[in-house]
Each structure stands twice: as C-alpha cells, then as structure tokens.
C-alpha cells in the first residue's frame, strides 16, 4: 500500500512505510513549528523589537523586577509607584505565570551563555509558545481522531488570525502563554479520561495549575470540565476512568491553584467555582452507586435505591448551595463573568467594563476576518464528531459550542474559541480528504466480483470499492480534492494578509503614508515618556487617563495616579471628574492628589482617532457614576458630541478641552482649512483663545500627539 513516487524518492534510504510516514509527519511538524514562529514576526521586521500596546508594559516591568530582585522580593512586592497615594500590592494582584516563564527562559539562555536582554525574551515569548501550541494541537488531534487530523489541526492553528491577534511578537500578554496552557490542560485531561490512570490526572492538575498562574480565564476550564463530566454522567458514560481522572484533577488542581495569592480561596468561596465542587460530590455519589450495584445481585432493589439516592443527593446539594449563597458565604458571580451570561449587564451597571473596546459583542465580519474557511468547516466537523461519538469527541464538541457562544458575546473571547474551531475543522478536513483519497486509490471492483467474493468483503473496509452506478466517481473525487486544497491555500493567504495588515501594529508607534508614498513614523509616545524620565524630578506624580498608566511607569519611570489595572473605580472616577471640570475645581482635585504633571493625548494634528477627546465621554460617564455633580448631558448638544462653535459651554471650558487645544487655535493643520482645524474630528474647534491659569505647558511632542502640562504651585497670598 505504499505511494510509489514517495517510495522511489526514499528508496535510497531503504525506509519501510512506517518509517516513511514517521519522517513525513516529523518534517511537517517541524515546518509548522517554524511557520508559527515566523508568521508572528512582522512588526519586529518592520519597526523594531519592542513591546506593544498597554498591558504588556506592566508585564514587562514586573518581569524586569523579577529578574533584578529575585522571586521572593517579586512575590512580596508592594508597588508605591502606581495608584498614588494608595499603592498596589503587586505580588498578590497579578498572575505570575507569564513573568516566571519569561524569567526562566532568560535564566536558561544566560546559563547557556547567550547574553540576551530581558526585553528580547519578553518580545519573543508569545511566538515561542504559539509554536508549542501547535505541537499540543497535534497531540490533541491525534487523541480525538487520528494523526492526520492532528497534523491539520497543527497547521490550522499555526496561522489562524484569531490566535495571532494576541500572540504576535511584542504582545507580551497573559493570553500568549495562557492559550498554550489551556489547550495543554484540556489535552492532558482528555488523555486522563481515555487512559484512566492517576499519572495523567496528576499531569492535568499541573497543567491546570499553570493555567491558573497564567490567566484569569482559568474559570472557563473549571466550569467546562465539570459541565463535560456532567454531560458524560447524564448520557450514561460513567466509568472508573472518568472517576479517577476528574477526582485527581479536581483535588490536586484546586490545591495547587490556591497557592496563587491572587486566586486565594475562590475555589471554595466563589460562585463561579461551585459547579466543580458540585460535580465532585455527584461523582462520589455515582461511585457509591456503582459499588452498591456491584454488591447487590437484585436489580429491582437497586433501581429503587438508585432513585432514592439520586434525589436525596441532588436535594442535599441544592440546599447546601442555597444556604451558602443566601448567607453570603459563597459570593455571586463577579461582574466580569456575569456580563458573559447577561451581555447587557455591564452597559447599565459597570461602565468601566463596558468601555473597553474588546468587551463589545462580536460582529459577523470579525468572525469571518478571524476564522475564514474555518467558519463553515466548524459545523462540518461537528457532524463528523457526532458520527463517531466517544468521550474525547464529546469533549471537543462541548468545548467548541461553549467557546463559540462566548466568542459571540465578547470580541476578545474569539481567542478562546480558536483552538476548538481549529481542532473541529481539522477533523472535517482530515475526514473528507481521507474519504476522497481512499476513493481515488481504490481499485476497480468489476473484474473481481466473481472470484474474490470472500476476500472482497474483508478488503471492502480498507479499499472502498467503486460504485458501478456512478462512473465518474474518481473524477469527482479528484475535483473535490482540488477544491479542498484550493480552499486551504486561500485560507493560508488570507491569514498571512490579515496578520500583516491588521495585527502587527505596535500601537505605541504609529505609521502613515506621507505625501509621496513614503512611510512616516510617529514615535511621539516614547518621545514623551522619555522626556518625562529625563526632565522631571524622580518623585514627580503624573495624572493621565488610565490607559497610559502602565506605559508611563514602565518607560517614564514616574509615579502615576491611575493605571490599566482599574481595580479602584472611585480613584479613576476622581481623575475623570478632574478632567471634566472647569479648571478651578480641577485644580483643587489635582492639588489634593499631589499631582505634578498632567498628560493628555491629542490627535487633532495627525488625525489620530484614539485620543483623549474621543475617549472623553467615557471619562464623563465613569466620573459621573461616582460623583453625580458630573452630568453627561451638560457636555452634549441635542444628544450630539461636538467640539466646534456649537458645542456645550461646559465642554468648551473643561480641563480636557483646554489641555488638548491649548495653542491649537493658531495652528494650520491642513491646506485650505482655517487654523485650528481638528483633523481627527473634522471640524474647526470652537474655543481658540485658551488661557490656562493653574497649569503651564511643559512639553508637546513633535506631532502634538502627547502633551504634558506642569501644575503650578498655588499663588502667594500677598
């Protein structure tokens, strides 16, 4: 059954078929590993090796601290440079998995005498773990279906844009490591359920521990696995293997997870983790029933016993849960996760969660953009899974369906759905291609009917015989195969294009096309942060909107009032109130917070649309949520948000407006337009004659993107 051309090629090596197959598989996996790594390097090649976005800067700063001061200091670190004057207990409020991983890689490389800087390690951690994820996807596919599906899964997940979006080089964020940990934990658990040994259960507990240390999304695992166990119990697939796997993983995993200070005792106290405990007790009940069934020889007695026991157990569980929740011991679902079940909750009650652009519901275009052909291969794969139901395929079906639901609720959760979609689509592709190629290679059955009746029935399963009523089957199979390969090649092209165009921008460095088509780079952010670092006293405090907090502490090395951690809503609301008030009231708030410098981001000169004036309404809403003196309608005109002459008077005189447009009224931004034309909003501004009384301009970057103001001390009384 050997392919003649490959065997001709490999004949000089005298390899048997099994070895040829192994060689092909290993070489494919190596190529996929390299591909997954290099497709994420666009921004490093185009710009430079730097950390992107906002959150990764905090991770970078903590990793730097870890490598400089050691683990004990890191674990007990109290950071007084952010959230002035409150400070932040960093050791107890972060997920250390990413930092510890990067620090270990750094130590290993230094041990091997490669003197790399920690920043290089941080930048390349995510692509490295993406490559490892492809390997895990291969083994997972092999476990669920067969090695062909595993290979296709590895290839699909190597280039899938849904995963690339959060794991490009430079995106040093928790998700880069967490998706690897997620898939690894799921693979180990499915392996444990298939094998039924304690060792694999222990491995899955360690995988879960790594996941808990890496990302807050571990709640998905601790709810999906009990749900899966429940589905297996309901469909009558209880077995000793399942009992062993789940119990080992739950007990050891829970204990290990509680070692992370940020998670703490949530596994026994929080409503989000109660499903796992409930299923744990239910498993004990099933084990007990299994034992009783084995003991008793009379089945009728056993049925009655069964019904009594199950009702009692469920009732007891329900009562315990009810008592726990009513007495307040078990806390209800927190806002972040509750808004997944009820998507309208955040908009009404928690504006700070609703304001993050990644938390918005997903549009169809995002799905198509991130998944391409996988979107219709997913239902096809589900069909194949249902045809061959086993414990493992039930798991992947559940993972796929639940993650797709959550991906529809929140854009950033497309990332969690990506491995499931890739695996299920891989099953569809692999099964289809396998059936088609078997058709292509089958021999014509006509001549054999008479003589080989006995052997044909044995061989019918391996070589599908051609149906004589459909004479063009081979041609049809060939055409379908070409179609399938064409689709896959289009997928690869699409993914590379998406990665290059959409997901490789560092967002701290902006690029545009100049008038002659040359590339113009705006490096204003880093210019401003380094100005802060070099020209302000070391204990200066900087007030800005929370988006820039991490970058200011990491690159500017100065104390900030609020940053991206957003753990204290009142503090953020105070800053929002200061930005939305008239200058005198704002000055009082600024003095009470000991602020020395105020930083705003302004996109009117360059047309940059993610600046503070566009975010201003969120400042008003968040500030107004805590201080009712700030009312959103004061800043709007007929429900419209304007900055030109027709804008509301409070808008024209609030601190944010003044700081953004100070001296902007004399500036010519575009040929043919009046001075003071705001290119980001497309209007001429209303208040051109701005005078600042309590602040003075300290620094404006070369393209006016970041503007820094110094707070003047109060006037002398006499």
């Amino acid at each position: 059954m050997s392919n003649s051309s490959t065997s001709d090629l490999l004949k000089p090596f005298k390899l048997k078929t099994k070895q040829q197959e192994l060689l092909i598989r290993v070489s494919i996996l190596c190529l996929v590993y390299i591909l997954a790594f290099i497709t994420r390097l666009f921004s490093v090649l185009r710009y430079e090796s730097m950390i992107h976005e906002f959150d990764p800067y905090f991770n970078y700063r903590t990793t730097l601290y870890l490598t400089q001061h050691g683990f004990y200091d890191f674990w007990n670190w109290f950071d007084y440079e952010s959230w002035y004057p409150l400070g932040r207990i960093v050791g107890g409020t972060l997920y250390p998995g990413l930092m510890v991983t990067a620090a270990l890689i750094y130590r290993l490389l230094h041990f091997l005498r490669f003197a790399v800087h920690i920043r290089e390690v941080c930048v390349l951690t995510a692509p490295f773990f993406a490559s490892n994820t492809t390997l895990v996807a291969y083994f997972f596919g092999k476990e669920i279906w067969d090695s062909g599906a595993g290979l296709v899964a590895a290839i699909l997940i190597a280039v899938c844009p849904g995963y690339i979006s959060r794991s490009v080089a430079g995106s040093y964020d928790n998700e880069g490591v967490a998706i690897f940990a997620l898939l690894f934990t799921f693979y180990l658990f499915v392996k444990a359920v298939n094998k039924g040994s304690l060792a694999w259960g222990l491995a899955s507990a360690f995988g879960y521990f790594y996941m808990v240390s890496a990302w807050g999304g571990y709640v998905f695992i601790i709810n999906l696995i009990p749900l899966y166990v429940l589905v297996l119990l309901i469909t009558g697939r209880y077995s000793m293997r399942l009992y062993v796997a789940y119990n080992c993983m739950y007990i050891l995993g829970m204990l290990l997870a509680m070692q992370i200070r940020f998670v703490g005792f949530q596994h026994v106290q929080s409503g989000e983790h109660m499903a796992a405990m409930g299923v744990f007790f239910l498993m004990q009940v099933f084990y007990f029933l299994d034992w009783v069934k084995h003991m008793l020889s009379d089945t009728k007695l056993f049925q009655e016993f069964l019904s009594i026991t199950v009702t009692c157990a469920v009732a007891a569980g329900g009562i315990a849960l009810g008592v726990g929740m009513a007495s307040g011991y078990i806390s209800p679902w927190t806002g972040r996760f509750y808004s997944l079940l009820d998507p309208t909750y955040a908009k009404d009650h928690i504006p700070i969660i609703a304001s993050v652009s990644e938390h918005q519901p997903t549009a169809w275009s995002s799905f198509m953009f991130d998944f391409h052909i996988l979107l219709f291969l997913f239902p096809a794969g589900l069909y194949f899974c249902f045809k061959r139901l086993s414990d493992a395929t039930i798991f992947i079906v559940m993972y796929g369906l639940t993650s797709m639901y959550f991906a529809g609720v929140m854009v950033r959760l497309i990332l969690v759905a990506t491995p499931a979609v890739c695996l299920i689509s891989a099953i569809a592709v692999s099964a289809t291609v396998k059936n088609l190629t078997v058709l292509l290679r089958s021999k014509n059955k006509v001549a054999q009917i008479g003589s080989t009746k006995g052997t044909s029935s044995a061989k019918a399963s391996s070589k599908a015989s051609l149906d004589q009523s459909q004479p063009f089957q081979k041609n049809g199979a060939m055409a379908l195969l070409f179609g399938a390969f064409y689709l896959l090649s289009r997928y690869a092209t699409h993914c590379t294009w998406v990665t290059s165009e959409a997901y490789s921008s560092p967002s701290i460095v902006l690029a545009a096309r100049g008038a002659h088509g040359n590339r113009v780079i705006f490096d204003d952010y880093r210019e401003a942060y380094f100005w802060l670092r070099q020209n302000t006293p070391p204990d200066a405090k900087v007030m800005s909107w929370w988006d820039y907090g991490y970058q200011i502490t990491a690159m500017g090395n100065r104390t900030v009032i609020v940053d991206n951690n957003t753990w204290n809503n009142t503090h953020i609301a105070t800053v929002g109130r200061a930005m939305s008030s008239y200058e005198d009231e704002a000055y009082e708030i600024i003095r009470s917070l000991d602020v020395d410098y105020v930083l705003v981001v302004f996109g009117g000169v360059t047309g940059y649309s993610s600046d503070d004036i566009n975010k201003f309404l969120w400042m008003v809403r968040i500030g107004g949520g805590v201080f009712p003196v700030i009312k959103e309608p004061d800043y709007l005109v007929n429900g419209e948000y304007r900055v030109d002459k027709g804008a509301a008077p409070k808008m024209l005189n609030c601190l944010m407006y003044k700081l953004s447009y100070y001296r902007f009224g004399e500036m010519m931004t575009e040929y043919g337009k009046p001075p003071g034309y705001d290119r980001a909003r497309g209007v001429e501004i209303g208040n051109k004659d701005i005078k600042l009384e309590h602040l003075e301009e300290a620094f404006t970057t070369s393209n006016w993107i970041v503007r820094i103001y110094k707070v003047k001390p109060p006037n002398n009384r006499w």
Partner: protein, 114 residues
C-alpha cells in the same frame, strides 16, 4: 399503605443484602475501606473544630481538610484490589501513581499550611 410497607420491606431487604454482601468481601479490602473511612472521619473532626473555634487561618483549615479528603479519594481510586478497579493498568503502575500523587498532595499541603 401497602406501598409504604412494601418500601419499608424493600429498604429492610436492601439493607440486609448489602450487609451480607459486604461481610463476604475479603479482609484486606475491608482494611482499605477502614483507612478511607478514617481519613474522612478526620476531615469531619476538623470541620467541627473549625465551627467551634472559628476559621481564622483559613488556609491551614483548608489544607488540613483537603489533605484528608485527598488521601481518601486517592486511596479509593488506587484500590486495585477492589472489583471496581479499571482493568487496563497493572497494579504496580497503579501503586506507583498512588505514591506519586500522594507525594505531590502532601508537598502542596505543606506549602499551603503556612
């Protein structure tokens, strides 16, 4: 009325048949069951103590209770003498797994005790 008396009879018959079947199990199985029962009993005592004294070092309480529950569960699962045991693993491998898991469990407990 006939219904309830028949269920009572059934319950009695159930109880008797369970007792006789259990009395027939070999002694070493009963010893392991005793070990599991003792671990759970220790956990219950700790819960009662916590209810009396208050749960201040909660991590210590949790680690104590979970170590008992953990050893009970692990012993129940590794019990390769039991007829419920999954047949595809050799007993030596099951015992090695048991030792490894117990080792990890107790190391984590020691770390968690504070």
């Amino acid at each position: 009325m006939g219904r309830t008396s028949s269920t009572k009879e059934d319950a009695g018959a159930l109880f008797h048949s369970l007792r006789s079947a259990y009395a027939a199990t070999p002694v070493n199985l009963k010893i392991i069951d005793l070990y599991v029962g003792f671990a759970i009993f220790t956990a219950l005592i700790q819960v009662v103590y916590m209810a009396m004294v208050g749960s201040f070092p909660f991590n210590s309480f949790l680690s104590g209770v979970l170590s008992c529950v953990g050893t009970a569960v692990l012993a129940g699962k590794s019990n390769f003498l039991s007829p419920l045991f999954a047949k595809d693993l050799p007993p030596e491998r099951a015992f090695a797994d048991f030792v490894l898991c117990n080792l990890v469990l107790h190391l984590v407990i020691m770390n968690f005790l504070g």
